[in-house]
């Protein structure tokens, strides 16, 4: 190998390392965020209630924000906009989904917690956000969220905001459309 070829080989190797690093960044980011809770995502699986003492000396305000992303004629409302809870206490809030559209559709509420440091301490025992919902035209559906703030919630957190954004469950829709189309065409 000439010296130029050797340099080029080394440079290409560095380039490939960076390509690999870039690909690895996505899972690394997810792992990092799961451990630290930094992107405000809460767990997507139900967690068990931790029974034990409730910290009666402390109140934390939990606020609920709901909004609808584009393309879904739904409304999501929380029965209570905000509640005051003690760390350790399990609490249930009911949410109402309404489909204002003229057809049945599927949607999903995606949660986000802020401040992000609270996301690791927010335990959801049941949540509608663990699955997609399907609503007929005009249907109204009430679903519960049961949660608990763990007692080791950092002292400086006085308010936790839980935001739910409704998104259309796109892939389902797409495949069902495709199926409908092919069936229509075949018949």
């Amino acid at each position: 190998m000439t010296p130029v070829q050797r340099t080029v080989t080394k440079t290409l190797f560095a380039l490939m390392m960076m390509v690999g690093f870039t690909i690895a960044l996505v899972p690394l980011y997810d792992v990092f965020c799961n451990i630290t809770g930094l992107n405000g995502k809460s767990a997507s699986q139900p967690r068990a209630i931790v029974s034990g003492e409730v910290d009666e000396s402390r109140y934390v305000t939990v606020q609920f924000i709901t909004r609808t992303g584009s393309g879904l004629p739904w409304r999501l409302t929380a029965q209570d906009r905000q509640v005051r809870v003690h760390p350790g206490q399990a609490y249930e809030v009911r949410f109402a989904f309404v489909n204002h559209g003229k057809t049945a559709s599927r949607g999903r509420a995606v949660p986000s917690v802020s401040p992000s440091e609270a996301s690791l301490h927010l335990r959801k025992i049941t949540c509608f956000c663990f699955q997609e919902q399907r609503l007929e035209a005009g249907e109204r559906l009430e679903l519960p969220l049961m949660f608990q703030l763990s007692r080791d919630l950092p002292e400086n957190v006085h308010t936790v905001t839980l935001a739910y954004t409704l998104y259309p469950a796109a892939e389902e829709q797409l495949t069902s459309n495709v199926i409908a189309l092919t069936q229509g065409g075949g018949a």
């Binding site: 080029v8 960076m18 390509v19 870039t22 996505v26 405000g40």
Partner: protein
């Protein structure tokens, strides 16, 4: 038929008969005339000229878009263009200036000057060089053609944040991604070529610490390109998958995270801004000593400062994201690392000023541009420091203050340095001096125009004017009118620049080999204009007085 073989046997490292890659292509290459000659050329000087002409054309096209933006913003209210088209103009202006004008401009200078400054007969990989160049016109024709597609061209800002650039993007986005991929490949191949040339083709006797700062800064820039261009490619590939293949990298509905996009983009983006400024540092560091007739003060510290800026640039990306809701520790970390970058940058400014101290300074056009660079780039550095203060950035973020900041570092920064380089090396390229009187007119009109254009943006931004809007509240009217007038002054002054270049190519005062009184670097030892083939026998530089 001009024989094109560099005498490989005498090259420092390539003793074998088949020689370096530089030597391979030449036997089959014949001298052509007409357009084919330019299409197939593997000569570093011709490819350098192609890059520079391409860069200048993109500068004019991107500039025309900027003037459309300034025309719309001349007065409050919507008068000239639709908001949708305005957004396409801001996006395309940014993309074209960054990837089409500034980066290829520096690569063109590298092609011309690096072999001349290290005593090499050509770039290490001449055919690859041809390919890297020709990717660019294709990429940018494709990018520009998106403006004519249904739904229009990219309209999401040059930073193309997802999901604006995925879920809500026009259908042409796939072409935008493809164009950017090609431009990225071109940059990577160019960088590989530059690294191989600098590391392997230096003339005997030239050690790394003997190289000019232009060569040094380009070496470091090339490594930055190798490191971050794959990240850009990765990010746009993920966009492509999100748009066309139903993945959800950046789509919250499917479990993705839009903030991930910003992390990835700025992990590329911040080193990218240094890719656009390090070669400028190099240019200014060769021009100032020439016209101050002194050695560059603190050569070694310049090299180390450049290297530390490059390393630090990987640790500051989230200063573009102070407002996304980072945890406190991250805000602090990125705030301090960002401020740390100001230290090596300060070392550089100090060295330039100290070089001037007690120099026998003359103010030819290249020197005027280089001096304006030092002053005005520093203003941009200061506004950068203000933006680096995380709590203050909550207010400044996404206002015209940011626009003022990056235009100060990029226009009287990077662009002025390219102009300085063109005036400085035109005698070597054409054999004639550029018209000094016209050059001065160009300089003064540009300096006045650029400051009138960008300085008021600081005030508009501090007063709260958001960026990327086609209309604005009445209290910003005066600032915007001043900016627009400055914009037109600056824009039309560039016609003078073209005139100077054309005039210089056609004729003018003949330049000797060493065209500038204080010039000492190796390129000034070859005749002006530099013949198509130089250093075919590598010069023996043992005993050469470097910088």
């Amino acid at each position: 038929m001009a024989p094109k073989s560099p005498p490989k046997a005498t090259l420092e490292h390539s003793q074998s008969a088949s020689g370096s890659a530089a030597a391979h292509h030449v036997e089959e290459h014949h001298y052509r005339s007409g357009p084919l000659r330019w299409l197939l050329t593997t000569n570093h000087k011709e490819i350098g000229s192609l890059y520079l002409i391409f860069s200048l054309s993109m500068f004019m096209i991107g500039g025309a878009m900027a003037l459309i933006i300034r025309l719309e913003l001349f007065q409050p209210g919507l008068q000239m263009v639709q908001p949708e088209f305005f957004n396409q103009m801001t996006t395309m202006h940014g993309l074209i200036m960054v990837f089409g004008a500034v980066m290829p401009g520096f690569v063109g200078l590298a092609n011309w000057m690096i072999p001349l400054q290290v005593g090499a007969p050509d770039m290490a990989l001449p055919r690859l060089n041809n390919f890297s160049f020709w990717l660019l016109p294709i990429a940018f024709t494709l990018l520009l053609s998106t403006l004519l597609m249904p739904g229009g061209g990219p309209n999401f800002g040059w930073t193309f944040y997802a999901p604006l650039s995925t879920t809500y993007a026009p259908p042409s986005t796939t072409f935008f991604i493809f164009a950017l991929h090609m431009a990225g490949i071109s940059s990577i191949l160019g960088a590989i070529n530059i690294i191989a040339t600098i590391l392997n083709l230096r003339a005997p006797g030239m050690r790394l610490m003997d190289m000019t700062l232009f060569v040094w800064t380009w070496l470091i820039t090339a490594f930055l390109l190798i490191a971050v261009m794959p990240v850009l490619a990765g990010v746009i590939t993920m966009m492509l998958l999100d748009i066309n293949f139903g993945t959800s990298f950046f789509n919250a509905a499917g479990g993705g995270d839009p903030v991930l996009f910003q992390h990835l983009f700025w992990f590329f983006g911040h080193p990218e801004v240094y890719i656009m400024i390090l070669p400028a540092f190099g240019i200014v560091s060769v021009i100032i000593p020439t016209f101050a007739r002194k050695r560059l003060f603190g050569y070694a510290s310049m090299v180390y400062a450049t290297a530390s800026i490059a390393i630090l640039s990987f640790l500051v990306w989230a200063h573009h994201m102070f407002a996304v809701g980072l945890p406190l520790v991250a805000e602090l970390f990125f705030m301090y690392t960002t401020m740390l970058i100001a230290v090596p940058t300060g070392v550089k400014v100090f060295n330039w000023i100290t070089t001037l101290f007690r120099g026998e300074i003359t103010f030819e056009t290249p020197m005027l541009f280089a001096l304006a660079f030092v002053v005005l780039f520093t203003i941009g550095g200061f506004s950068g420091l203000m933006l680096a203060i995380a709590p203050a950035d909550f207010q400044y973020h996404d206002t015209y203050f940011v626009v003022a900041h990056f235009h100060y570092v990029l226009v009287p920064g990077a662009v002025f340095s390219i102009m300085a380089a063109v005036y400085y090396w035109l005698p070597k390229w054409t054999g004639h001096y550029p018209d000094e009187r016209l050059g001065r007119w160009h300089f003064w009109l540009s300096v006045i125009g650029v400051n009138l254009l960008f300085f008021p943006m600081h005030f508009a931004g501090l007063a709260g004017m958001p960026r990327r809007i086609p209309d604005y509240a009445l209290q910003f009217a005066d600032f915007n009118m001043a900016s627009s007038i400055g914009g037109f002054l600056f824009g039309f002054s560039q016609l003078l620049f073209i005139w100077v270049i054309v005039k210089c190519v056609r004729g003018g005062v003949k330049a000797p080999a060493s065209a500038w009184d204080g010039a000492t670097d190796l390129e000034w030892t070859v005749p002006s204009p530099a013949p198509l083939h130089t250093f075919e026998t590598p010069p023996d530089l043992r005993g050469f007085k470097f910088h």
